[in-house]
């Protein structure tokens, strides 16, 4: 009798507990679920840079891609841009490509920004937020490290130092 009741109570509490745990888990991950998971293939996209050249992510297969999402008003983005520029110059011959995706500002604002920092890597503008929504970008800056097979190696939000950028580029060198 007693044992049966204890088993019964345990089972009922476990079922209820599992339901609650699932709900909480689903709730907390719903905003954080990375649409692009590490180890999976990065979604392909085509965007146009400031000079009118089209960049398709899949065309860079065979190279590592340092994919950075940014905005001109975002302070940490602004800070890491020159670092990325320096490291890009080092690694471009070693097969690491930098693609900086602006989150849909005006051509003028992006152009002026690029001129001010003398950025040499291609900057593309995601006008209607399609790429951002495909990658599930929320806080800026956001960076994806993509290896030579087009797979996501790492996802980073927040500011990076020049050292960490160097480290990351080292990681995706083909």
């Amino acid at each position: 009798m007693k044992k049966q009741r204890l088993v019964m109570r345990t089972v009922i509490l476990l079922v209820l507990g599992a339901a609650v745990a699932y709900t909480l888990y689903a709730n907390f991950t719903k905003d954080k679920i990375q649409k692009v998971a590490v180890g999976e293939k990065a979604p392909d996209f085509v965007l146009t840079d400031l000079d009118g050249n089209k960049h398709r992510l899949s065309d860079y297969e065979g190279q590592g891609v340092f994919l950075n999402f940014w905005g001109t008003w975002c302070k940490p983005c602004e800070k890491e841009m020159p670092y990325m520029n320096n490291q890009y110059k080092q690694f471009t011959d070693e097969g690491v490509q930098v693609l900086a995706v602006n989150v849909g500002e005006t051509d003028l604002a992006v152009n002026k920004f690029s001129e001010r920092y003398d950025l040499s890597f291609p900057i593309v503008i995601d006008k209607d937020s399609q790429v951002q929504s495909a990658y599930g970008i929320n806080p800026l800056p956001a960076t994806f490290l993509i290896d030579k097979d087009g797979k996501v190696v790492k996802y980073i939000t927040g500011e990076m130092t020049e050292d960490t950028i160097k480290n990351y580029m080292e990681q995706i060198k083909p």
Binding site: K2, R5, L6, R9, T10, I12, L13, L16, A19, V20, Y22, T23, L24, A26, N27, F28, K30, P43, D44, F45, V46, L47, R56, G71, T72, W73, V103, G104, E105, T106, D107, L108, A109, N111, K112, V124, D126, D128, S129, Q130, V131, S133, A134
Partner: protein
């Protein structure tokens, strides 16, 4: 502890107050009472008797109705606080939530944000409260319905004297011909739709027992309701997003996998007009001033044709034009788009004229599209203006440098370089709204502000809900339970022969007056005395 064996031979679970079978009082404390506490038929609520393992302790905590009521009260208060200021998802995306609450509502807003009320309904502690109510509901119900069911099922016809005597409605009397009197009463009770059980010449008449299950049916409905709420967290079951879309803009509808696009053809805000609208509104309009009549977004829905890669311009196929009004959403597939908010007169274009400050002579107008400004505006005859910098949402940072807070043109500012035939090197001028700064001394020319062009922005709720039917089902079951428990009463009448006397007792879970009238009618003409309401007598004596 051991199970309790009653004199009648029935073995009751520990903690039983009244024998399940004969109703004899088993608990010492109860023996002194004049009337019995009939809640849950005096059955053993097990949680009160076992308190050994951690499982039992958790079980007992949730089994308490007091705990359940407190959980509900706390949840109610928290929910109410959550409605004082708008939730994060409803604030316009003009600045981060962190700043917005303080900016709009001062220190109260900051506190509200810091305490997490800006996102209350999906905060972990709120969800735990709701979940606890659900658990409390399940355990409270189980802990009561099982013993109650047992007690009602096991009850004998001949109840113990101590049980009958302590019923609220009770009477003992002599009858001339007991057999005949019982037969008569039986017929009458039958005609009142009582089901009759007999044992050793005693009678138990009972009806409406199913009304006792009303509260539990009701709880099942509530639990289904909560399951519906839980399913909203399962991906794909529920979507509730806000889409801000400017007039003339085409945007992807979120959560449609890039399948559907929406174009805003215009937002309309109509007010009631004293002249044009019906006379009945006149008084109200006088009193309130402006009264909104209609919020409407004229939109065009497009579907993407073929496969495209993100960022690639998709070929769009028009699905339909629609006028979204409040409560008149645009529906497609399982989605619905509701009109929910708007922003009037967002800056769209600004016009300037290159002007000689002394003579006031103008050398041509230029209009800057704030969402797509050009590098250079050539005004001809050697006059041109170059945009050196553009700050859509301008402010000065801590170092006095102009910066932009966001990409939305809330407060646009420009640095212009003005080229004229007599100033081929150009003059620099910083132009913001109602503000001009000439960083390199006195200029001969200025960008005179000519006017603005604005656009409205519509906010639409993107909603998909596959859980609604579960809520409806839960609601219906809830109401069935309420009706079951409210409109029917569980009535029992006992007739027992005790030492040549006839004992009559009655019990109901509500509406004692109705029960007494039925007993009266059943005993009419049988010679058995109508029992008295002992509770009434008690209070009369006291009074």
């Amino acid at each position: 502890m051991k199970e309790v064996k009653c004199d009648c031979g029935h073995v009751n679970p520990i903690g039983t107050i009244l024998c399940e079978s004969c109703g004899k009082v088993l608990e010492e404390k109860e023996k002194d009472k004049k009337l019995l506490d009939m809640r849950y038929e005096g059955s053993a609520r097990r949680s009160q008797t076992y308190n050994k393992t951690i499982i039992d302790k958790i079980w007992n905590f949730f089994s308490s109705v007091k705990v359940g009521v407190w959980l509900i009260v706390i949840t109610l208060i928290a929910s109410a606080i959550g409605t004082i200021l708008p939730q994060e998802m409803y604030i316009p995306p003009i600045m981060p939530a962190e700043e917005y609450y303080e900016d709009q509502y001062g220190w109260i807003g900051k506190l509200y944000y810091d305490l997490g009320f800006h996102n209350l309904y999906s905060s972990w502690w709120y969800l735990i409260l709701i979940a606890s109510i659900g658990i409390s509901l399940v355990i409270c119900s189980l802990d009561r319905v099982v013993p109650l069911y047992r007690a009602l099922k096991k009850q004998r016809v001949s109840r113990h004297e101590s049980y009958l005597k302590r019923q609220r409605v009770f009477g003992a009397s002599q009858a001339e011909d007991t057999d005949q009197a019982f037969a008569m009463a039986k017929e009458k009770l039958k005609s009142k739709k009582y089901s009759i059980r007999e044992e050793d010449g005693n009678i138990l008449a009972e009806k409406g027992r199913f009304s006792r299950w009303g509260p539990y049916v009701n709880h099942v409905g509530l639990i289904i309701f909560l399951i519906g709420g839980m399913l909203r967290f399962v991906p794909g079951m529920y979507v509730d997003k806000i889409l801000w879309i400017r007039e003339g803009e085409t945007k992807v509808i979120p959560e449609t996998n890039g399948e559907y696009y929406l174009k805003n053809d215009g937002f309309i805000l109509e007010m009631y007009d004293k002249e044009k609208d019906k006379e009945v509104f006149e008084e109200a309009i006088d009193k309130a001033g402006m009264v909104a009549k209609n919020y409407q977004s004229n939109v065009t829905l497009y579907k993407k044709k073929g496969d495209t890669v993100a960022g690639e311009e998709a070929e769009l196929e028009k699905v339909k034009d629609y006028e979204i009004k409040v409560n008149k959403p645009l529906r497609f597939e399982r989605f619905a788009l509701y009109q929910v908010d708007y922003k009037l007169n967002e800056l769209n274009k600004m016009s300037f004229a290159l002007t000689n400050k002394k003579t006031g002579e103008e050398y041509g107008d230029l209009t800057v599209d704030l969402n797509d400004p050009q590098d250079v505006y050539d005004l001809g005859n050697g006059y041109k203006a170059e945009v050196v910098s553009y700050f859509p949402d301008f402010e000065f940072d801590e170092n006095g440098e102009p910066i932009t807070k966001s990409r939305v043109p809330n407060n646009p500012a420009f640095v212009f370089k003005m080229f004229t035939p007599d100033k081929p090197d150009g003059e620099i001028s910083f132009v913001a709204i109602r503000q001009t700064i000439e960083p390199f001394g006195d200029n001969e020319y200025k960008m005179a502000f000519k006017g603005i062009d604005t656009k409205n922005v519509s906010a639409l709720t993107v909603r998909k809900d596959l859980t609604l039917w579960i809520f409806a089902l839960g609601g219906v079951i809830f109401m069935v339970g309420v009706a079951q428990g409210s409109y029917w009463n569980h009535r029992r009448i006992w007739l027992r022969r005790v030492n040549g006397e006839v004992w009559v007792a009655g019990h109901t879970n509500k509406n004692w007056h109705g029960l007494k009238r039925e007993i009266e009618a059943a005993l009419d003409g049988t010679g058995i005395k109508v029992p008295e309401d002992q509770l009434q007598n008690q209070s009369e004596k006291k009074g």
